[in-house]
């Protein structure tokens, strides 16, 4: 099929989408063309800081595309038969594409997609990164176990950690399997993100603050008040 037609179809589908502007539009469009995405968007969600679009699942291989855009970047997540390919386009980076291919089943990961889905459901939440290979982060998980906070705390596992050890710990502490979702996020984060535990404070789809290190429950409570 001639490229022109694709472009036409695509821009139709993007402009026909209810979202007013897509950051790095031409780079994102090119990518979509290459992915053969011409099907209309199924679902969308618009909030002040971000918008998301979801494509129809199509084909035998269960191929779907999902897009989140904020004023600083657009993230495109392609799910092809369970493998997630995440592309991020940041304005600050001249819209150059950064790609990340996820290891493992989507359901075992915490991806950019999960981040924005979380943001859609909760205007405020905290992501708590932990690792089975960082003793102090286990103390953090234990100490927060039966505590209630004003906003949801989402526990996400270090992508490098030993899953075996993590499973053992979760079992021993009688914590849900959701704690085992591994961090799989493409895009902009502080260079020193990888210290465990770390807390990310999210408000309206934006990471407001990144705070590494152990926090007593009372300290975390104050940090939530302060940052969200």
């Amino acid at each position: 099929m001639p490229i022109v037609l694709f472009v036409l179809l695509l821009s139709l589908s993007l402009t026909a989408s209810p979202i007013k502007s897509i950051t790095c539009l031409s780079e994102v469009s090119n990518t979509l063309i290459n992915l053969n995405v011409v099907s209309p968007w199924m679902r969308f969600h618009e909030s002040p800081n971000f918008s998301i679009l979801e494509s129809k699942v199509s084909g035998e291989q269960k191929f779907s595309v999902w897009l989140a855009t904020t004023d600083i970047e657009t993230t495109l997540v392609v799910n092809k038969g369970g493998v997630l390919i995440q592309h991020s386009f940041q304005k600050a980076n001249n819209c150059k594409m950064v790609t990340m291919v996820s290891k493992g089943e989507a359901s075992t990961l915490f991806t950019t997609l999960d981040f924005y889905r979380g943001a859609k459901d909760h205007s405020k939440f905290v992501i708590l990164l932990w690792s089975s290979q960082m003793a102090i982060s286990l103390k953090q998980v234990q100490d927060l176990k039966d505590k209630k906070f004003d906003v949801p705390i989402v526990f996400v596992l270090d992508e490098h950690a030993s899953l075996e050890q993590a499973k053992e710990f979760i079992k021993k502490e009688k914590l849900p399997e959701s704690y085992l979702r591994r961090w799989n996020f493409v895009g902009r984060l502080p260079a020193s993100i990888e210290h465990y535990p770390s807390a990310l404070f999210v408000k309206n789809g934006k990471i407001m603050k990144y705070i590494p290190g152990y926090s007593q429950p009372e300290v975390l409570e104050n940090l939530i008040k302060e940052n969200l």
Partner: protein
């Protein structure tokens, strides 16, 4: 195959061979020690590098880096030796902090504890006084305190108990220096690391990046840490290779050193797969870090600290002025990010700046040309001259003195080193510099002899110019 194809087309723009100024070279490890266990991301080494203390699955271990034999250490986490190896601290269940007298870098006796929950401990030392710093785990605010101890007749005695460190509320991941006088921590407001005085809480130094948990060198002048770099995919023409890249994990960590006197940030490793993290200094200036291979196994690496980076931003600013430097830097960074595939992402502008500052002169000029920065500016940018010009005869004297030292104190044992071939000496300068300035007598040169402070300084300066 279908999966790979579309992405492959997309990345075709990355296929072009990266220009030579994109190359960032990392140090090759001198020693690689493979380990079977999955270690925690926290370990320490004895000052001489012969022992590594690490945690795996809630137990502490000691690894002999020469015989590769392993033994148990007490505690479930955070095994920390004092700089002289005579005191050892560790955590027991309940995160209670314990201290023991250590012999032979592994045998613990005379255990002491005040039964407090105190994670994040580190030990500094001044003469026979040991300073143990930790975060109190039971308060409802983050409280840092230190206690001083000494060892009398093989027993631990308290000299000064639990003194608070006055600090700003935004500091995280504290680590004491070897003298016990300073701490490094990350300021969560600025995402930068700060060196603060333990006694006054005053900020002494601010780093250009946030290094997270960091380690001081024995002389306190250098700080090592890891940073995360988002790789982009430097895709070669080969589909198979691309498939293997796709299997890689998304995040790569590399080791960096900040040199406090010159304010230079230096890159130590440049892994493009796997991850290098949590570096620890040895007394001789070498660095030990943990490496996770792309296959998921673990290794400890021992590496030399790299030679000085080529130019410091402070010196460039001194030469060109802050404004011109900033605008040139910004253009160069953009060009570098645009044309080089190795680094991407906002957080990595710092890396790009570092890479630009470390380019050899010719590559630096070539980047400037590509980025359309004026030649006059680039000449100064790439080869900044410090404004205080040294008198010619002084330099000459230095050369004469240096050659004399080499002749009298080095040549006898070394026909392997081209001391008198200035062209070849460049390759040796880091090694020579490390040897003559080492504090470790078994590593230090000249063997069986010594250099005065002046001789050391002169020779060091002479050697570094190559």
């Amino acid at each position: 195959m279908k999966l790979i194809l579309p992405v492959l087309i997309l990345s075709s723009s990355l296929w072009a061979q990266s220009p030579n100024y994109c190359e960032v070279k990392g140090q090759k490890p001198n020693k690689v020690i493979k380990i079977d266990k999955s270690p925690d991301y926290f370990f320490k080494a004895s000052a001489d590098g012969k022992k590594i203390y690490y945690i795996s699955a809630r137990s502490n271990y000691v690894l002999d880096t020469e015989s590769l034999s392993e033994g148990n250490m007490p505690g479930i986490a955070d095994p920390v030796p004092s700089p002289d190896g005579k005191l050892f601290s560790y955590l027991e269940p309940g995160w209670k902090l314990f201290l023991g007298v250590m012999e032979n870098n592994k045998d613990i006796s005379s255990v002491y504890t005040d039964n407090e929950t105190r994670p994040y401990q580190s030990i500094g030392q001044s003469n026979d006084k040991y300073r143990l710093f930790s975060q109190l785990g039971t308060e409802n605010y983050i409280r840092w305190s230190y206690s001083d101890y000494t060892i009398v007749d093989g027993k631990i005695e308290v000299v000064k108990r639990s003194t608070d460190v006055p600090k700003s509320a935004h500091l995280r991941l504290p680590m004491l220096d070897k003298s016990g006088k300073y701490l490094i921590a990350q300021n969560s407001n600025t995402n930068r690391s700060e060196v603060i005085s333990v006694e006054t809480g005053a900020v002494i130094d601010t780093l250009p990046v946030g290094g997270g948990k960091s380690d001081f060198s024995f002389d306190g002048k250098k700080i090592a840490f890891h940073l995360t770099v988002n790789p982009s995919y430097d895709v070669k023409k080969n589909e198979e290779e691309f498939a293997s890249i796709m299997r890689q994990e998304g995040v790569i960590r590399n080791i960096f050193v900040y040199d406090r006197p010159s304010k230079k940030l230096k890159q130590v490793t440049n892994f493009t797969s796997g991850s290098a993290f949590f570096p620890v200094f040895l007394k001789n200036g070498q660095i030990v870090y943990l490496y996770k291979t792309p296959e998921g196994s673990y290794e400890f690496h021992i590496v030399n600290e790299p030679g000085d980076s080529l130019r410091s931003k402070v010196v460039v600013e001194n030469c060109l002025g802050v404004e011109v430097t900033d605008s040139a830097m910004s253009v160069l960074i953009n060009k570098w990010l645009e044309t080089c595939n190795n680094w991407t992402g906002q957080a990595d502008r710092t890396m790009a700046e570092l890479a630009v500052l470390n380019l050899p002169k010719a590559y630096c000029l070539s980047l400037g040309k590509t980025a359309n920065v004026s030649k006059q500016i680039m000449e100064k940018f790439c080869d900044p001259k410090i404004k205080t010009i040294e008198p010619a005869n002084k330099t000459n004297n230095e050369k004469v003195l240096s050659k004399t030292i080499l002749n009298n104190k080095c040549v006898t044992c070394h026909n392997d080193i081209p001391f008198h071939d200035e062209k070849k000496l460049g390759k040796w300068k880091n090694k020579i510099d490390a040897r003559i300035n080492s504090r470790d007598p078994s590593f230090r040169m000249p063997r069986g002899d010594s250099l005065s402070a002046l001789e050391k300084e002169t020779l060091s300066k002479y050697i570094r110019q190559f």
